[in-house]
Symmetry: C2
Subunit: 237 residues, 2 copies
């Protein structure tokens, strides 16, 4: 996802919504000549992000809807897995645009839970996956946002919006991906909404267990395959 | 889809299920030093394929389940949009494997209708898309076969199976794709099962019209986006 993102030496880059710094580490180490200002609304996340001790990064607590920066301060803006959590992603993008220099670029990366399918696909595994989508929707976000990056950035006033899909495909010949993506990312993410899904009545305990078992089968079986799509957009102020 | 398929001069390549030669034209012209034997079960399709007058291609009527070729005759086999129509794709692959020389490769390309999603997504547009999947299933095929290329080739005895996803993404900045893929391929394909869908009672006339209108909106609107995934597999005998 980040392989084709590079910032020239001397660039000043805003990462809005850095969380615990998962992407910051990669960005900062791959672009040692650039300086990064990384913001998040959560002081707790920022405290963890600071533990990475990155020389070319300054962390700062800030609300994405109220950026405390002067106009045209940054050469580039980077936003990853943030918009999916917001009730009004266009409003956030509109707040980010002015802090970019004219000609500066914004890079936005999001997933799309509606892009996900697998083999073998069972009713129970589809049900627990829909629980994840619906549970996230209850929190006000949109986990199907990847497909909307083009209209969102266009509506927010950005120019020359270019979106590219980034497919993740896993089968038994790619055990590192099966383990790192299917088991430790996807299934872990679904398991994270178990309590909420049962409390909301989105499914019952037995279907839940069956669905998680079935997803694990996709990872464990020699004939299992799994697909997910991320989207990466680059646009100009 | 064919950009990374090339055959060395002197290769003898079997294209099984060439239809009217849509892919044959590209393969034959991009690989002028290779010779192609292209088969199809339909004499009518072959007659159309022959009209392309390709120097390095021999057309021959043949059933994929009864290939009239000696063992180890071909350096490579190419199969595109064929397995989705078969009730027993593994059996077909098992029939193709012996005609390959040891170390020869098979290339298989298929779509996956379950990979398809768009924005804005409406209930009616989802319904007509499901009609396409269900109408094709009634004919004995599997339009969700792309995700299964790895297990199918493995089960048929092929070695070193490598599958890669090929995403098609369209938005208003890519009008050539919107027109060529969304309008002329996807919507045309859905419209092709209208009579069958209504006769089978998969939906009603009003929902059908609304669904087609909604799909056309995806193509027409400035905020529409569309996604589809093809899969390409390469394996050794």
């Amino acid at each position: 996802l980040l392989g084709d993102t590079s910032y020239p030496a001397g660039s000043l880059v805003l990462e809005a919504g850095c969380g615990v710094g998962a992407k910051t580490i990669t960005l900062a180490s791959r672009n040692p000549g650039a300086r990064f200002v990384c913001t998040d609304i959560s002081a707790e996340s920022l405290a963890k992000a600071k533990e990475h001790n990155l020389d070319n990064v300054t962390f700062q607590q800030a609300d994405i809807f109220a950026m405390p920066f002067p106009a045209a301060m940054f050469d580039h803006v980077f936003v990853c897995h943030v918009l999916e959590h917001l009730t009004d992603p266009v409003a956030a993008l509109r707040k980010l645009r002015p802090v970019l220099k004219p000609g500066g670029t914004i890079t936005v990366i999001e997933g799309d839970h509606g892009s996900c399918y697998w083999h073998p696909e069972t009713l129970a595994s589809q049900t627990v996956w829909q629980c994840l989508i619906r549970a996230q929707a209850r929190l006000g976000g949109d986990s199907l946002i990847g497909r909307r990056l083009f209209p969102l950035l266009t509506e927010a006033g950005f120019a020359d919006v270019r979106v590219s899909p980034r497919a993740v495909y896993c089968d038994a010949s790619r055990q590192d991906w099966v383990d790192g993506f299917v088991r430790k990312t996807i299934i872990a993410m679904v398991e994270g909404v178990k309590t909420q899904s049962l409390e909301l009545g989105l499914t019952d305990e037995q279907t839940w267990r069956q669905g998680i078992d079935d997803l694990n089968q996709v990872a464990d079986r020699s004939d299992g395959t799994f697909n997910y799509m991320f989207f990466k957009a680059v646009a100009e102020r």
